[in-house]
Amino acid sequence: MKVNDLILKTATNVVSFIIITFSIYLFFTGHYTPGGGFIGGLMTSGGLLLLLLAYDLETVQSIIPFDFKKVIATGLLLALGTGIGGLFFDKPFLTHTYGYFDLPFFGEDTALATATLFDLGVYLVVVGITMTIIQTIGESE
Protein backbone atom coordinates (compact mmCIF):
# COMPACT_ATOMS: atom_id res chain seq x y z
CA MET A 1 0.00 0.00 0.00
CA LYS A 2 1.37 3.35 -0.99
CA VAL A 3 1.23 5.90 1.79
CA ASN A 4 1.03 9.63 1.22
CA ASP A 5 3.50 11.46 3.46
CA LEU A 6 4.49 14.35 1.22
CA ILE A 7 4.79 16.84 4.08
CA LEU A 8 7.15 14.61 6.08
CA LYS A 9 9.35 13.95 3.03
CA THR A 10 9.53 17.61 1.99
CA ALA A 11 10.36 18.70 5.54
CA THR A 12 12.97 15.93 5.81
CA ASN A 13 14.71 16.97 2.59
CA VAL A 14 15.28 20.44 4.02
CA VAL A 15 15.78 19.67 7.72
CA SER A 16 18.24 16.79 7.36
CA PHE A 17 20.68 19.03 5.48
CA ILE A 18 20.38 21.64 8.25
CA ILE A 19 21.04 18.96 10.89
CA ILE A 20 24.10 17.61 9.06
CA THR A 21 25.49 21.12 8.53
CA PHE A 22 24.98 21.84 12.24
CA SER A 23 26.77 18.60 13.12
CA ILE A 24 29.77 19.58 10.98
CA TYR A 25 29.77 22.97 12.72
CA LEU A 26 29.72 21.20 16.11
CA PHE A 27 32.62 18.97 14.99
CA PHE A 28 34.88 21.84 13.91
CA THR A 29 34.19 24.18 16.86
CA GLY A 30 35.10 21.50 19.40
CA HIS A 31 38.55 22.97 20.07
CA TYR A 32 37.46 26.36 21.39
CA THR A 33 33.76 26.12 22.22
CA PRO A 34 31.43 23.28 23.32
CA GLY A 35 31.17 20.54 20.72
CA GLY A 36 33.54 17.94 19.36
CA GLY A 37 33.59 14.59 17.68
CA PHE A 38 31.12 12.79 19.92
CA ILE A 39 28.18 15.21 19.74
CA GLY A 40 28.96 15.95 16.08
CA GLY A 41 28.78 12.26 15.22
CA LEU A 42 25.56 11.83 17.18
CA MET A 43 23.95 14.77 15.35
CA THR A 44 25.07 13.41 11.96
CA SER A 45 23.48 10.07 12.75
CA GLY A 46 20.40 12.01 13.91
CA GLY A 47 20.13 13.54 10.44
CA LEU A 48 20.58 10.14 8.81
CA LEU A 49 17.99 8.71 11.23
CA LEU A 50 15.52 11.35 10.04
CA LEU A 51 16.13 10.19 6.45
CA LEU A 52 15.54 6.60 7.60
CA LEU A 53 12.26 7.63 9.22
CA ALA A 54 10.94 9.48 6.17
CA TYR A 55 12.13 6.93 3.61
CA ASP A 56 13.05 3.28 4.13
CA LEU A 57 16.16 1.22 4.73
CA GLU A 58 16.85 0.26 1.12
CA THR A 59 16.44 3.81 -0.24
CA VAL A 60 18.81 5.24 2.35
CA GLN A 61 21.33 2.45 1.73
CA SER A 62 21.21 3.24 -2.00
CA ILE A 63 21.82 6.98 -1.54
CA ILE A 64 24.46 6.52 1.23
CA PRO A 65 26.26 3.37 0.07
CA PHE A 66 28.57 3.02 3.08
CA ASP A 67 29.15 -0.16 5.00
CA PHE A 68 29.04 1.43 8.45
CA LYS A 69 31.12 -1.34 10.03
CA LYS A 70 33.97 -0.25 7.73
CA VAL A 71 33.37 3.33 8.89
CA ILE A 72 34.02 2.17 12.48
CA ALA A 73 37.27 0.50 11.37
CA THR A 74 38.38 3.63 9.47
CA GLY A 75 37.77 5.80 12.52
CA LEU A 76 39.71 3.50 14.83
CA LEU A 77 42.61 3.35 12.34
CA LEU A 78 42.65 7.17 12.12
CA ALA A 79 42.77 7.55 15.92
CA LEU A 80 45.50 4.89 16.19
CA GLY A 81 47.45 6.51 13.34
CA THR A 82 47.54 9.94 15.00
CA GLY A 83 48.72 8.21 18.18
CA ILE A 84 51.50 6.33 16.40
CA GLY A 85 52.51 9.49 14.48
CA GLY A 86 54.08 10.91 17.64
CA LEU A 87 56.43 7.89 17.90
CA PHE A 88 58.19 8.81 14.62
CA PHE A 89 59.47 12.09 16.16
CA ASP A 90 60.89 10.55 19.37
CA LYS A 91 57.89 11.65 21.40
CA PRO A 92 55.56 9.56 23.59
CA PHE A 93 52.50 7.84 22.17
CA LEU A 94 49.55 10.19 21.42
CA THR A 95 51.72 13.34 21.45
CA HIS A 96 49.83 16.00 19.53
CA THR A 97 51.19 19.06 17.78
CA TYR A 98 49.87 22.09 15.96
CA GLY A 99 51.06 24.74 13.59
CA TYR A 100 50.03 27.94 11.87
CA PHE A 101 49.60 27.86 8.10
CA ASP A 102 48.58 30.36 5.43
CA LEU A 103 45.63 28.81 3.65
CA PRO A 104 44.09 30.42 0.55
CA PHE A 105 40.46 30.44 1.74
CA PHE A 106 40.64 30.49 5.54
CA GLY A 107 43.11 33.39 5.83
CA GLU A 108 46.59 33.66 7.28
CA ASP A 109 47.73 32.02 10.51
CA THR A 110 45.09 29.32 10.50
CA ALA A 111 45.82 26.95 13.38
CA LEU A 112 45.80 23.32 12.32
CA ALA A 113 46.13 20.73 15.11
CA THR A 114 46.55 16.98 14.80
CA ALA A 115 43.95 16.63 17.57
CA THR A 116 41.40 17.32 14.82
CA LEU A 117 42.41 14.07 13.10
CA PHE A 118 41.94 12.17 16.37
CA ASP A 119 38.54 13.86 16.71
CA LEU A 120 37.68 12.84 13.15
CA GLY A 121 38.36 9.25 14.22
CA VAL A 122 35.98 9.65 17.18
CA TYR A 123 33.39 11.18 14.81
CA LEU A 124 33.59 8.27 12.35
CA VAL A 125 33.39 5.67 15.13
CA VAL A 126 30.32 7.33 16.68
CA VAL A 127 28.53 7.64 13.31
CA GLY A 128 29.40 4.05 12.40
CA ILE A 129 28.31 2.52 15.71
CA THR A 130 25.04 4.47 15.87
CA MET A 131 24.06 3.68 12.29
CA THR A 132 25.06 0.02 12.68
CA ILE A 133 22.86 -0.33 15.78
CA ILE A 134 19.90 1.44 14.12
CA GLN A 135 20.14 -0.52 10.87
CA THR A 136 20.61 -3.86 12.63
CA ILE A 137 17.58 -3.31 14.85
CA GLY A 138 15.57 -1.84 11.96
CA GLU A 139 16.02 -4.75 9.56
CA SER A 140 15.27 -7.53 12.06
CA GLU A 141 11.68 -8.57 11.54
Binding site: V3, L26, T33, I39, G46, A54, D56
Partner: protein
Protein backbone atom coordinates in the same frame (compact mmCIF):
# COMPACT_ATOMS: atom_id res chain seq x y z
CA UNK B 1 15.64 44.35 37.03
CA UNK B 2 16.42 41.92 34.24
CA UNK B 3 16.97 39.15 36.80
CA UNK B 4 13.46 39.63 38.19
CA UNK B 5 11.96 39.38 34.71
CA UNK B 6 13.98 36.24 34.03
CA UNK B 7 12.87 34.69 37.33
CA UNK B 8 9.22 35.44 36.53
CA UNK B 9 9.61 33.89 33.07
CA UNK B 10 11.26 30.81 34.59
CA UNK B 11 8.38 30.41 37.05
CA UNK B 12 5.81 30.76 34.25
CA UNK B 13 7.65 28.19 32.10
CA UNK B 14 7.89 25.81 35.07
CA UNK B 15 4.15 26.10 35.68
CA UNK B 16 3.52 25.40 31.99
CA UNK B 17 5.78 22.33 32.19
CA UNK B 18 3.89 21.11 35.26
CA UNK B 19 0.62 21.49 33.33
CA UNK B 20 2.09 19.51 30.44
CA UNK B 21 3.35 16.89 32.90
CA UNK B 22 -0.23 16.53 34.14
CA UNK B 23 -1.24 15.85 30.53
CA UNK B 24 1.56 13.26 30.16
CA UNK B 25 0.40 11.39 33.28
CA UNK B 26 -3.36 11.74 32.82
CA UNK B 27 -3.78 12.01 29.04
CA UNK B 28 -6.43 9.62 27.75
CA UNK B 29 -4.64 8.71 24.51
CA UNK B 30 -1.06 8.07 23.48
CA UNK B 31 -1.13 11.02 21.05
CA UNK B 32 -1.89 13.42 23.93
CA UNK B 33 1.19 12.16 25.75
CA UNK B 34 3.39 12.50 22.65
CA UNK B 35 2.25 16.07 22.02
CA UNK B 36 2.77 16.96 25.70
CA UNK B 37 6.32 15.53 25.64
CA UNK B 38 7.09 17.55 22.50
CA UNK B 39 5.85 20.73 24.16
CA UNK B 40 7.91 19.93 27.30
CA UNK B 41 10.98 19.75 25.05
CA UNK B 42 10.18 23.16 23.60
CA UNK B 43 9.72 24.57 27.10
CA UNK B 44 13.13 23.11 27.94
CA UNK B 45 14.63 25.08 25.03
CA UNK B 46 13.15 28.29 26.44
CA UNK B 47 14.42 27.48 29.96
CA UNK B 48 17.92 26.85 28.54
CA UNK B 49 17.85 30.20 26.73
CA UNK B 50 16.77 32.03 29.89
CA UNK B 51 19.46 30.29 31.93
CA UNK B 52 21.96 31.44 29.27
CA UNK B 53 20.93 35.05 29.88
CA UNK B 54 20.94 34.66 33.67
CA UNK B 55 24.38 33.05 33.75
CA UNK B 56 25.70 35.61 31.24
CA UNK B 57 27.24 33.01 28.91
CA UNK B 58 26.74 31.85 25.35
CA UNK B 59 28.03 28.31 25.94
CA UNK B 60 24.54 26.79 25.99
CA UNK B 61 23.24 28.21 22.71
CA UNK B 62 24.19 25.04 20.81
CA UNK B 63 22.21 22.98 23.31
CA UNK B 64 19.01 24.83 22.34
CA UNK B 65 19.38 23.71 18.73
CA UNK B 66 20.28 20.15 19.82
CA UNK B 67 17.15 19.91 21.99
CA UNK B 68 15.04 21.19 19.08
CA UNK B 69 16.46 18.59 16.69
CA UNK B 70 16.05 15.77 19.21
CA UNK B 71 12.45 16.77 20.00
CA UNK B 72 11.60 16.84 16.29
CA UNK B 73 13.21 13.47 15.49
CA UNK B 74 11.66 11.86 18.57
CA UNK B 75 8.19 13.14 17.77
CA UNK B 76 8.46 11.98 14.14
CA UNK B 77 9.58 8.52 15.31
CA UNK B 78 6.69 8.24 17.81
CA UNK B 79 4.11 9.37 15.24
CA UNK B 80 5.40 6.91 12.67
CA UNK B 81 5.22 4.11 15.23
CA UNK B 82 1.64 5.07 16.09
CA UNK B 83 0.61 5.31 12.46
CA UNK B 84 2.23 2.20 10.95
CA UNK B 85 3.35 0.02 13.83
CA UNK B 86 7.04 0.05 12.90
CA UNK B 87 9.55 2.86 12.98
CA UNK B 88 12.03 1.94 10.24
CA UNK B 89 10.68 -0.01 7.30
CA UNK B 90 12.62 -2.12 4.87
CA UNK B 91 10.50 -1.18 1.86
CA UNK B 92 7.88 1.53 2.31
CA UNK B 93 5.82 0.68 -0.80
CA UNK B 94 5.19 -2.91 0.12
Amino acid sequence: MLDIFMLISLIILSLASIGLLYRVVKGPGVTDRVMALDAIGINLMAITAIMCIMMNTDAFLDIILVIGILAFVGTVAFSKFLERGEVIERDRNR
